[in-house]
Amino acid sequence: MSLLSLDRVSVRFGAVQALHEVSLRIERGEFVALVGSNGSGKTTLLRTLHGMLRHQGRRELGTDAGRQVMVFQRPFVMRLSVANNLRLALWLDAVPRAQWDARVRAALGRVGLLGLEERPARALSGGQQQRLALARAWAVQPQLLFLDEPTASLDPTAKREVEALLAGFAIDGMTLVMSTHNLGQAKRLASRVIYLEAGEIHADLPTAEFFNGRLQGRAQQFLKGEAT
């Protein structure tokens, strides 16, 4: 059974049809990239997959779907220390207190922030805050991680660091679904690419096939940079 599936799911914001009868399945271990122009419905689809939006149609979690977490484009970190931001995530996830210190160290080590435990989280750089957000997500050991343009506001160095972390998460077996404007990033990281336009899926292919030049219509135009 799929980890997560949508069957003819639609989302409407007032007069705007943000998603229209979208059906897809997310399988364990996939790294899915959602690509498309601004307003195509990438973020709405991510939030719907995560269960944050009211929708019409069917959203079904697999029996062993486990924990899901989302990391946003602009990471929100509390005005607490780095370690306390992680402890908060563990508290919300009902992780036994005895495990907190080990989990905090492991998560910070995973993203290269060890030694900054007592630093105010808001004093970190943008890239470090995004890595802290990833550590916070990783600490609760999710089966499924949603990422909403996680490198969009980062400089090239921080972008590379975050990409390396995401690649590592995928190698560890975590299932990831990420929206991105960056086709190169989708090509480097994803195992499958979904192209959205006007709230509908126009292409859903393994990464190699998506980029092999055989796409048709609007998806092909988008790939060539002609779609707006």
Binding site: H50, M52, V69, F72, F76, L92, F146
Partner: protein
Amino acid sequence: MSSFAESVGTAVDLILHADRVLLGTVGLSLAVSGTATLAAAAVGLALGAWSAVAHFPGHRVLVLLMNTLLALPSVVVGLVVYLLLSRSGPLGSWGILFTPTAMVIAQTLLVLPVIAALTRQLVGDSLRDGGDQLRSMGARPLTCALLMLVHDRWAVLTVLIAAFGRAIAEVGAVMVVGGNIDGVTRVMTTTIALETSKGDLPLAMALGIVLLAVVGVVNALIGLTQRGQGSALAGVR
């Protein structure tokens, strides 16, 4: 002008010699307004956080009411509490009219809307910034709102200091429900009003200076908390 200068001189003399009446009045003012602020904070912070995430019919009316009550005249609060606590009122059997307890109740009702309305705004703004992230981590809406009180603790402190400033500077409510009884319910503002009407300007002026000093300390605290918040970040960048 010389009368004014003389009043200021006498006021400074009273302060420097720690006049017993002056100290008693100042102490009662601080006790009443401090207790009222703490009591209002206990309810107002929770009400403000809850109203930032609650969805129910009439929610907009509640928000409108809270915002309107920001301008609540203190004398009206005094009148309402007076009617409740007077011998023929529904709470007359408590027998607390013209006591400091009645003054605490009146000032609590006066600053409660200030704390609740400002907290609702504060938490609402922060939720727009990070509410989705906290929900994604498994927090329920009310938990998100309460966590934002921790996130915005410096701003919350500023709200509480502002509420204390409103309480300690008001005269209408404590005059009506306290009665300005010498040595029992006489606070700074009611004493200033009384002594001015009697023509004892030095004592009134002394209390005015102390009241201004207290409000000045409150403002300094607001400034310090805001600066502390800024430097906590700037110092490590």
